[in-house]
Amino acid sequence: MTKVDTPVFTAPRSLKKVVTHFCPGCQHGTVHRLVAEALDHFAVQARTIGVASVGCSVFLYEYFDIDVVEAPHGRAPAVATGVKRALPDRIVFTYQGDGDLAAIGTSEIIHAANRGEGMTVIFVNNSTYGMTGGQMAPTTLPGQKTSTSPYGRDIANDGRPIRMAELLTQLDGTSYSARVAVNTPRNVLAAGKAVRKAFQTQIEGRGFSFVEILSTCPTNWGVSPLEANERIATEMIPCFPLGTFKDWALDAPGTGAK
């Protein structure tokens, strides 16, 4: 009898088969894959519109095989609002870094969440500005050295890291908010589940969904990829605890679930 080969691992259909430009050890590739797997899982590639933002992730249209609109720095949630209101039956997501979402775009993300816009926000937090060369971000850890906090982030001068996943949980328009990491295989699996849940939230018309993903920037952190993964465990997670902070499936009615 002929044995039929059953693939156990394939490339997501929603990603193009191209080489990415990301630095060695960067986890945008991993996060791209998780998002693409979620689009495949729900078979929504053909009706998905991505909103690219400013930073290393801006080229997502080079890697995702979907329609994409590019937004100005921080404004992706506003652009996505226009897209979703124009085409309510499409699946719309933004993909934003920490400088984009937690600094220049704080207003846009808070109000899109508060309106309960039916979009999914993928928030990649690596505690630094990657593309511009490793400057301090709102998520930079206290004491962390960056090119604009050369003596380490001084909370008296620069404030403390912003925890976006928790912050957005306070808004009634947010239906799902979670923080995950992609530093270990176990965490990657959990991250994939959170990303799927976030898209499920949108597909089921349950409003605004948000996934914060702790990831590395070995180039700007000045460490090896493995050391970078270690740093997520030892420094980032203690400051940015992993977990699901809001979930329409678990929360009492009236707290954002529709």
Binding site: R47, D67, A71
Partner: protein, 356 residues
């Protein structure tokens, strides 16, 4: 639609936009244009459209960007300080070749300034405003009827040339009431929007709306493409109104609210026996260069009236024949101080006298 209405300029612009098929409005309140979002908030839901009062002017222009990228006729409106906040989004829309309507009911600045009518946003509107060296289609209505007509035209031109259009009004034109005869949108053939993002559907190729061009030579090619489009616009879409040019010895020029006062002044001067003509630019970009060049081939004097310290006058000077003299009279507005027709007529007499 055989009716004559008595409406505010701000209402007329909203009515014109709706008649043009606009179904998406994103904005933020600011005096003296808040009648526009108020009108849209009331009327759009009835038409199955969408009204969002955004958290800021910045968010609203970017919502417009998103809806426009999906092929919808969409608009925003604001007044001077709010328009400054929209410049980032306008530059991105220009770079992304996206249509859309932005209404600026100007007030006086700089900074918070005042709420009286001003024409000090001319440079900002016609010279780019945001970064990167782009142009907008800029239309300058001088009446309530034109607020309606030009809102409609703005959408068509904007779709035709794939660039944002700005309607540059002012607080007098926005707040005053006069007769409006509404009419349906003229049937103009527009190109198919084959660039719109909508989700791939059955398409094999993805679509991308973007303004980032990093490949070798890509950005230069993109900017030449935009430049040639602006040249084409100059060639085809310049609009102006000419009055009494046939025997004129002096040409007066003004746009918007100032053109209303200037027209009265020109009539007064005519009644006094002075041969004065007038050119009223309707498109500020493209500026009616040819109209000025042709007219100043005959009449060698132009007097430019503006509610600022001299902005459009620069374009008049660039357009006029080499040996023509261009004079300016204007002032930045303070509370309620519009020039009177008598005041402008005196200026006409003064400058006309020189050539006599």
């Amino acid at each position: 639609m055989d009716q004559r209405l008595f409406v505010k300029g701000n209402e007329a612009v909203a009515m014109g936009a709706l008649a043009a098929g606009c179904r998406f409005y994103f904005g933020y309140p600011i005096t003296p244009q808040s009648d526009i979002p108020e009108y849209m908030a009331r009327e759009l839901p009835r038409l199955g459209g969408t009204f969002i009062q955004a958290e800021s002017e910045i968010a609203s222009i970017n919502m417009l960007l998103g809806a426009s990228a999906c092929g919808m006729r969409a608009m925003t409106s604001s007044s001077s300080p709010g328009i400054s906040l929209k410049q980032e989004g306008l530059s991105y829309m220009a770079g992304s070749e996206l249509p859309g309507l932005v209404v600026n009911i100007c007030r006086s600045g700089p900074g918070l300034g005042g709420i009286d009518a001003s024409q000090a946003d001319y440079f900002q509107a016609v010279k780019g405003g945001g970064h990167g060296g782009y142009r907008l289609i800029v239309l300058a209505p001088h009446s309530v009827q034109e607020m309606y007509d030009l809102a409609m035209l703005a959408f068509d031109l904007s779709d035709l040339y794939r660039m944002p259009a700005m309607l540059l009004g002012d607080s007098v034109i926005g707040q005053m009431k006069e007769a409006l005869v509404p009419h349906p949108r003229p049937q103009i053939e527009l190109p198919a929007k084959d660039w719109v993002v909508s989700g791939k559907g059955s398409r094999s190729e993805q679509r991308i709306v973007k303004s980032l061009f990093l490949g070798d030579g890509e950005l230069e090619a993109h900017n030449w493409k935009l430049y040639h489009r602006y040249q084409l616009l100059q060639e085809r879409e310049s609009r102006w109104e000419a009055l009494y040019l046939d025997d004129a010895e002096l040409i007066v020029t003004a746009f918007g609210v100032t053109a209303r006062i200037a027209r009265s002044a020109v009539r007064m001067a005519r009644e006094g026996g002075l041969k004065v003509g007038m050119i009223r630019p309707i498109t500020l970009f493209p500026f009616p260069q040819k109209a000025f060049f042709k007219a100043t081939g005959v009449v060698k004097k132009v007097l430019c009236f503006e509610l600022n310290t001299g902005q459009m006058v620069e374009d008049v000077r660039l357009s006029a024949a080499r040996d023509a003299e261009v004079f300016f009279y204007g002032r930045p507005p303070g509370a309620g101080s519009l020039p009177t027709p008598e005041e402008l007529c005196e200026q006409i007499e003064r400058h006309h006298g020189r050539s006599a």
